[in-house]
């Protein structure tokens, strides 16, 4: 299509909204199946073979060869493997995706200014600059795709539309949408492209099946019923991107900055710093009643080099989202640039700031003044002793009382080591209050002083009468068992065959003894 380059007239349509002018023409670069490509670039997994990248046991992205065999996004791992037995399966690593995308963004930045990353695999910029320079949007698009192919060897698709959301959908279809035709392009799309599963589910049940119907709903009703995020989604569905609901002059002290005395050069230290700074930024925004949709991350290394990246999101950035993006970006910089010196200063600047209409959950748990006080105290202790010093417990599964609760460092994701579920052979309640980290070896004697043994039929050689430790010996007034535990018999290395016995001592102590390889141990105290 031929269009004269240059700013068009800014008019107002019937509803009084300013018509999208040249300033909102967005060009978007989209690399299909980016997690698979990233795995090939970083880990060497061949992308020509059938490959699937899994997240939470479901397929997130698959290569073209896998798609030909019938593997689709959203399938479970077993289902995908049954459709394609030679499927190569890898776990999703967002940091790896961002790391591999850095060269692509660098290549685009050579030809366009103000590149913002939506996620690993998609980046957007204003179309006006390159279109004016190369003489037309199609020419500019081709040039940029060539540059990416030359520099990085990945194939990319381009879409141009009014606004980044429509441009992403256009890039998937490989189309250039004329100015003003965005709403018509978006209308027949299903609401699932909004990528908000709860909202989509609700809209589906209400009978709103495509974006045109969603855009036709009264905006004030959508804001009142579904909240700010859905109101933003409705603006996107109508093709009115980047026009904020309530434009604010953000207070000047919203950006947060941190200087590090010891420059960060390790990924885990960077992750911790990113989390802390993200929480500060979110708390600052929430204190003013604001949310942001774009985030600018700037870093200065110890030898003066400056690094900058903008991330944008088509919804509101939650505290977790800010922390994740900062962490991925820092990991990408540290790993890729192989910085000789570490990062000495980190700054987060919120952009696209909107007035908040609704409660934004914080990074850890419910909001509240007690929670904030507790977090500040924990941060101080983590600063004194290291991030692994403050722990929290997560309940999970397991037969041993010691393994049923996993300790995770505060701030990390609360995942148990073994999943909860039925574990036959687990001790019934009450649970022991003291779980020894290292079992203590003891001797168990019967009435004649002989050691108590357990034969292959799980019978004790004689009733136990005395418990002997290094310091002391006690009389046993009650006992029950032996209860066998046989775990992982199929694994030669980790197989475990033990026998458990509950004993009650004369002074009221109760404990659980374990017999392993002929030696009795105390494992827990029912203190």
């Amino acid at each position: 299509m031929n269009r004269a380059a240059g700013p068009g007239p800014v008019g107002r349509d019937v509803a009084g909204e300013p018509q999208p002018d040249q300033a909102h023409r967005t060009m978007l670069i989209w690399c299909p199946d980016w997690p698979v490509i990233a795995a090939e670039l970083i880990d060497g997994v061949p992308a020509r073979e059938p490959v699937a990248v899994l997240h939470a046991n479901r397929v997130l992205a698959c290569s073209a060869a896998a798609r030909a065999e019938g593997v689709r996004r959203g399938l479970r791992k077993r289902e995908a493997q049954s459709r394609c037995p030679q499927l190569i399966v890898i776990e999703h690593d967002p940091a790896r995706d961002v790391l591999a995308f850095e060269p692509v963004v660098a290549a685009v930045e050579q030809l366009a200014a103000g590149v913002a990353v939506l996620r690993a695999g998609a980046c957007a910029f204003a179309a006006r600059g390159p279109a004016g320079y190369f003489g037309g949007e199609p020419v500019a698009a081709e040039r940029i795709v060539e540059q990416i192919a030359l520099d990085c060897g990945v194939e990319a698709q381009v879409g141009v539309a009014d606004g980044a959301f429509a441009a992403l959908l256009a890039a998937r279809a490989g189309r250039l949408i004329e100015p003003g035709a965005t709403a018509a392009f978006l209308a027949p799309m299903p609401v699932t492209v909004l990528d908000r599963p709860q909202l989509t589910d609700l809209l589906y049940r209400l009978g709103v099946r495509d974006l045109g119907a969603f855009a036709a709903l009264p905006p004030s009703d959508v804001l009142a019923r579904f909240g700010l995020d859905a109101a933003l989604a409705q603006r996107l569905a109508a093709g009115k991107d980047d026009l904020p609901l309530a434009p604010r002059q953000p207070p000047p002290d919203l950006e947060v900055q941190e200087r590090f005395d010891e420059p960060l050069d390790r990924v885990d230290a960077a992750a911790f710093a990113a989390r802390v700074l993200a929480e500060r930024l979110h708390a600052g925004l929430a204190g003013h009643g604001l949310v942001c949709t774009r985030l600018a991350i700037a870093a200065v290394t110890a030898d003066g080099r400056e690094l900058h990246r903008t991330w944008r999101h088509d919804g509101v950035l939650t505290a977790q989202a800010i922390a994740d993006r900062t962490r991925w970006q820092l990991e990408g910089w540290l790993t890729r640039h192989r910085l000789a010196s570490g990062i000495a200063m980190l700054r987060l600047v919120p952009e696209g700031v909107l007035a908040q209409a609704g409660l934004q959950p914080g990074l850890w748990g419910e909001a509240g003044e007690e929670r904030d006080r507790a977090h500040r105290a924990m941060h101080r202790v983590q600063g004194l002793l290291g991030p692994q010093a403050v722990l929290t417990g997560v309940l999970g599964g397991g037969r041993d009382p010691g393994l049923q609760a996993t300790l995770v460092p505060w701030g990390d994701e609360r995942l148990p080591e073994s999943p909860a579920g039925p574990w036959p052979g687990r001790l019934p309640p009450p649970a022991p209050a003291v779980v020894l980290a290292e079992p203590v070896a003891v001797g168990l004697a019967d009435a004649t002083g002989e050691r108590v043994r357990v034969n292959a039929r799980l019978e004790l050689s004689a009733p136990p009468v005395r418990l002997v430790t290094e310091e002391d010996s006690w009389e046993i007034t009650g006992w029950a068992g032996p209860w066998p535990v046989e775990e992982k018999w199929w694994d030669g290395v980790r197989a475990r065959r033990v026998v458990r016995l509950q004993v009650l001592l004369a002074d009221g102590q109760a404990m659980l003894l374990m017999l392993q390889a002929g030696q009795w141990y105390i494992t827990v105290h029912f203190d």
Binding site: G365, E370, R371, R373, A374, H375, R376, A377, M378, R380, V381, L384, L385, A389, V390, L391, T392, G393, V394, L395, P401, Q404, A405, L407, W410, R414, P428, P429, P430, A431, P432, A433, V434, V435, L436, A437, V440, L460, P463, E471, D472, G478, W479, A480, Q502, L504, D507, G508, Q509, A510, I522, V524, H525, F526, D527
Partner: protein, 263 residues
């Protein structure tokens, strides 16, 4: 003087003040007391954990090293968890310092919210700095010092707790160790004074519940020594009445198990 005369509340015999009805209820925030489990109420002055106080779990009045000490120290960790349970269930944040072998499943069973419980199992030699930092932010902080504590450190931590309105619980009775220490100068000292388990016979049964006797003493309002016996952990799984093993007394709110009848 014209206008209605306001009556004084003492002269109106039928008026009951709202403060008379709030005996058992202690809220959070700026209230002076944190709630505790019903079994522990009569042991503590004010029927709750008073903000700013130090409540020690130690050997109590018994001199350490006496022959009777071996009889009484069992049950201390469960007592500590029970002290935290009431406040944690009501929303307080709790921290435990210096106990690497704490059983978290037991904490969850007694009612502590695990996502509001912070653990610092190995604080190192500077544990009092860590304790002071956590007293700033947490409502209840349990410290388990590894050895004897200098009086200056004790006074400093108690003063910090009083200033911030947090509750400091020094825990001086680790299980399996022969030498219990003591924390002098605490406002209230709770010590376990005998535990009787039920449910375990000679080669049959399993540990079900324990009747724990707790003695309390201390300064000021807690000066009068008290004793209370409670079921800790709770009896939620009743033993059938004809079991030859000693059947525990049912708790007031425990569910009664109905036996199957042929119809």
């Amino acid at each position: 003087m014209t206008g209605p005369r306001l009556a004084r509340s003492e002269t109106l015999g039928s008026v009951r003040r709202a403060s008379d009805l709030t005996d058992d209820v202690a809220g959070l925030g700026q209230d002076r007391f944190l709630p505790v489990l019903p079994e522990l109420r009569e042991l503590l002055p004010g029927r709750g954990l008073r903000r700013g106080s130090t409540i020690a779990i130690g050997a109590g009045g018994q001199p350490a090293g006496s022959g009777a000490r071996r009889m009484s120290m069992a049950g201390a960790t469960s007592l500590m968890l029970a002290l935290l349970a009431g406040a944690s269930r009501a929303g307080s944040w709790c921290a435990v310092i210096g106990m690497p072998s704490l059983g978290l499943v037991a904490a969850d069973e007694v009612g502590i919210a695990l996502d509001r419980l912070a653990l610092v199992p190995t604080p190192g030699p500077e544990w009092h700095t860590v304790a002071a930092a956590l007293l700033d932010g947490f409502d209840v902080v349990v410290v388990a010092p590894a050895g004897p504590v200098a009086p200056a450190v004790r006074l400093q931590l108690a003063a910090r707790a009083r200033q911030r309105g947090s509750v400091l619980i020094p825990f001086c009775l680790p299980a399996g160790r022969a030498r219990p220490t003591n924390w002098e100068g605490a406002d209230v000292t709770l010590s376990p004074a005998g535990a009787v388990w039920s449910g375990l016979g000679q080669g049959h049964g399993r540990l079900r519940s324990r009747e724990l006797t707790v003695a309390s003493g201390g300064r000021g309002a807690a000066g009068r020594p008290r004793r209370a016996t409670m079921w800790l952990p709770h009896v939620s799984w009743l033993v059938p009445q004809d079991d030859p093993v000693r059947a525990p007394r049912p708790a007031d709110d425990a569910p009664v198990r109905r036996r199957l009848r042929a119809v």
